[in-house]
Symmetry: C2
Subunit: 391 residues, 2 copies
């Protein structure tokens, strides 16, 4: 057995990790726009990247390095270094060459696509880095784009034999979130003595039910990145405990991203059960979290369950109105052909929808497949943010 308890200082929660944010003049008004994560010893790395075929230069750069250990990640906001071809990769090399005391440094970028990296500013910014700083919060602010709040989390895992390890992370992401994937960045550090192959295995597995289960707008970015760095300073490790702690870190940050979804006012869990298999349940849950008609109904606090039924039917999976069941939290509005949606029920459901968090459940009544996805509403603010993101 083991205990997982909340801890402090995000990506610096583990001994030996350092981080900070600085201002390089990429954002207006002197806001922080560059961050680093530094480790005083070499780390194993596990990674998950966007599935977008136009993946950005930082991802190409990472992948060209093969298998390696690192002690440094440089992150910038405001510019994605995407659609920049070979020049984009050369820009990264040029920037990273100026960083001192780094081994196989990694770069990660988020921002506008199709504009060359302002490398002079970034090189100047990197000179401001102080590797002795342990300011995870400052780093988490520097990587924000349209995020309205910074995102970090840490846990301490106590094993039964008295040993313990730490895991913590910072992340950004508020739109273009569908992280099969969409600009979200997440950097996780740990001092657990996790074997390299189990790092990647755990990261892949946990991504499915966390970052790949959320959606703000169904769009998929060129830059999505999740990196897990392990310096193994603690000798403690337990496979199950590590995976659970990793899940807690990623689940928390994934939900923070939805909660901070551009213009979002509600966080909705789509719980799909009774599908033919888990894959079909996932298709339905994601179709619901992506549907514009469902999202605008959420924004209007309108318990328009017909749109939910319609979206299930349109998703292409095996389903039938004779076996479908739909509930808002614990209020069942439609049960295998029976309508429970009278005026009184409508009022009750409208009250559920006024909450900041609630669950829409769809039981397809076909098999044993299940999946939970997380989404938000879409309102005027989303339009406003995205209609003039560049300006």
């Amino acid at each position: 057995m083991y205990n997982i308890i909340y801890s402090q200082n995000g990506v610096c929660a583990s001994d030996g990790f350092f981080a900070d944010g600085v201002s390089a003049g990429l954002k207006k008004d002197g806001a922080k726009d560059m961050a680093f994560i530094y480790s005083d010893s070499e780390c194993e790395v596990a990674s998950v990247f966007t599935t977008n075929k136009m993946f950005a230069a930082p991802i190409k750069h990472f992948q060209s390095m093969g298998s390696f250990k690192t002690n440094f990640i440089l992150i910038n906001s405001k510019n994605a270094n995407a659609m920049t071809g070979k020049a984009g990769i050369e820009d990264i090399n040029e920037v990273l060459r100026t960083c001192k005391d780094v081994i196989n440094p990694i770069m990660s970028s988020t921002g506008v696509i199709g504009v060359r990296l302002p490398k002079e500013k970034i090189i100047e910014g990197a000179k401001l880095f102080d590797y002795s700083k342990r300011d995870s919060s400052s780093a988490s602010k520097a990587i924000m784009t349209t995020d309205t709040f910074a995102k970090e989390i840490a846990f301490k895992v106590k094993l039964d034999d008295g040993s313990s390890f730490n895991i913590g992370a910072i992340a950004k992401g508020a739109g273009m979130i569908n992280p099969a994937m969409a600009t979200m960045l997440c950097f996780i550090t740990t001092d657990a003595a996790v074997p390299k192959n189990e790092m990647q295995e755990a990261l892949d597995e946990v991504t499915k039910t966390t970052f790949n289960a959320i959606s703000v707008d169904g769009d998929t970015s060129t830059n999505d990145t999740v990196l897990l760095l392990a310096n193994k300073k603690s000798e403690a490790y337990d496979k199950e405990a590590f995976k659970e702690a990793l899940f807690k870190v990623m689940h928390f940050l994934a939900l923070e991203m939805v909660r901070d979804g551009e213009g979002a006012t509600k966080l909705v869990t789509y719980k799909v059960t009774g599908a033919k298999d888990d894959r079909e349940a996932e298709v339905v849950a994601k179709a619901l979290s992506d549907s514009l008609l469902v999202k605008t109904a959420l924004f209007g606090e309108d318990p328009n369950w017909g749109r939910i039924a319609s979206t299930v039917g349109a998703s292409g999976v095996e389903c039938s109105e004779e076996t479908l069941k739909i509930s808002f939290d614990n209020l069942c509005v439609y049960d295998r052909g029976k309508l429970y949606f009278d005026e009184e029920m409508e009022k009750k459901c409208a009250i559920v929808m006024q909450h900041k968090k609630f669950t829409i459940s769809c039981d397809l009544g076909i098999g044993e497949g299940s999946f939970k996805a997380y989404g938000c509403d879409l309102g005027y603010e989303y339009v406003k943010i995205n209609a003039d993101y560049r300006t």
Copy 2:
């Protein structure tokens, strides 16, 4: 050879077809909410319906009739008769039993899902029908829901031998449009001497490049219906001429639906070429027309070509930033690795985007596949309309 010329009176353009709209009190303020299309002789029927598995009672009713000739379609707005199970079909039978002088009558509905048909009102409304009326315009108004304008069109086709036939239609649709499919209804009548098998073949083929090439929000309704009725009163027919006239009817109405897309201010053609094959070109074109980030950029008149590149990359088809080319009308902003998007070009593109109609072209540079899709922008008005559609 043949000539296709604009004509009048929509669904009543062909001899022997009658139509009108009446008010049955389903809509507020006495607006017309029921329509009929009547033929004084029996017609062959071809049909295309939604792919939504929760397809509505009127579609089930139609499909239960097997192969048949008809002379009557009854259409109501405000209630979709969807998710209403067997009771929904019984309601249709009960309504249609009260209609006089009809052979194998068809019913078609659009509106809110999951509410039983107000059949008493509809039965009373049907009593107001006057089968001698030839008011296509009135019928086209009665079937509107969130449409802001009525949609009808007609053509006369003159063949070289001096003979001629007519084809005309009414349609509704403004949201939930992705008519693979989404509540759009379209009723087409013709007096052409078209053989039954060629009717269905032509309808299927033309649907692909018209109603199945448009998108307002990517959602797919339970009720989408396209019906083609042929009374064969004219002895004229030419396969190519008929197919072209049918295309003109459906293409016009499809674009009218996008133009009337909920809250839409722009009609955008997505021209995709150079894909591996036509299917992959279609995937990309539809991904672009469905992307929230692209749609909000259109609304903001922001030539954010990076979102276009990103959406192409996220669509899952074969593509590469080294072979991709992107243009706004005839302004090329990105050509196989070369960025042409400086400040001056941005201003020029922004001017293109201020137009009501323009084309975004993506050449994937891989193969010979091509497809054109049609979409619109997404602004505050879409949110407003859909956040309180029911109220």
